[in-house]
């Protein structure tokens, strides 16, 4: 599951995907987080990290797709991300968690299903049930975001609307 970075050092996480890395020279990055939820996790001792770009909250929305592409859903993607990190030597109690995205559609009439809000709620519910704290987040609103995670330091950064913040 752990992949090597490209020559630029970037490992791109696409829509409905997740990636894990133990390469200190890499940066995990995912783009266009609108209503999608981006999750970055990092173990500073094992120096293992992962990133998830989930589109939808519940697996019941498409159980077949959830089986084949668990990262598409928050409900299946989050545990899969954590397990993949454990497989690379990460420990749950050391994982630092950051969230980004879960925004609303810029046109309210197109936000009928409030997917962003539901994605965030599913994540918070799973974190609570599984005793996981969130270290930082940049969620909501309606501007798309880019989330990156440096594997050498564990720094999680969100870029949006021309500005950049470290979570």
């Amino acid at each position: 599951m752990s992949v090597k970075a490209s020559t630029s050092g970037l490992i791109v996480v696409g829509l409905g995907e997740m990636q894990v890395s133990a390469d200190p020279g890499a940066t995990l990055i995912t783009y266009a987080l609108g209503s999608c939820l981006g999750v970055a996790v990092y173990d500073p001792v094992a120096r293992v990290g992962g990133m998830l770009h989930a589109l939808l909250p519940h697996i019941e929305l498409d159980p077949v797709r959830a089986r084949d592409q668990p990262a598409m859903f928050v409900e299946s993607g989050l545990p899969a991300l954590f397990r993949a990190c454990y497989a690379q030597g990460a420990r749950k109690e050391r994982l630092v968690v950051h969230l980004a995205g879960a925004g609303a559609n810029t046109i309210p009439e197109r936000d009928h299903f409030e997917i962003g809000r539901r994605n965030l709620l599913m994540a918070r519910k799973l974190f609570w049930k599984n005793s996981i704290l969130v270290s930082g987040q940049d969620v909501g609103g309606n501007a798309p975001r880019t989330l990156s995670l440096r594997m050498d330091t564990g720094a999680a950064t969100v870029r949006s609307a021309g500005s950049s913040i470290q979570l």
Binding site: S131, I132, L133
Partner: protein
Amino acid sequence: MSINVLLIDDSAVMRAIALKSLQMSGVPLGTVHQAANGVDGLAVLHQHWVDLILLDVSMPFMRGDEMLEQMRADPALAGTPVVVVTSERGTERVTRMQELGAVHLPKPFTPEQLRDVVRDVTGVRS
């Protein structure tokens, strides 16, 4: 170093939420006691070493503000740190409790918020 905590709330669910949040906080916990009202809370305090109290306000038999008044009047209990956890806002009794040195954590709180308050009040980190 671990801290002994007393959770005082008439709601068993709120005590369960507070306990789980404390366990998630990473702050080293010793014994966690529970009480459903101010009378039982004072009884625990007189019997056990408690380093921190999470205290609801609106409870039967003895409210949180009434209990805190009694605590602050008792030299043996006066210095115990107290966090007031309540959905009330700006009431006289919450204000009075803050004047008596309690920190206010509004309901509903996230586990991250509870962690931050406990760290600030006790000075104890993970």
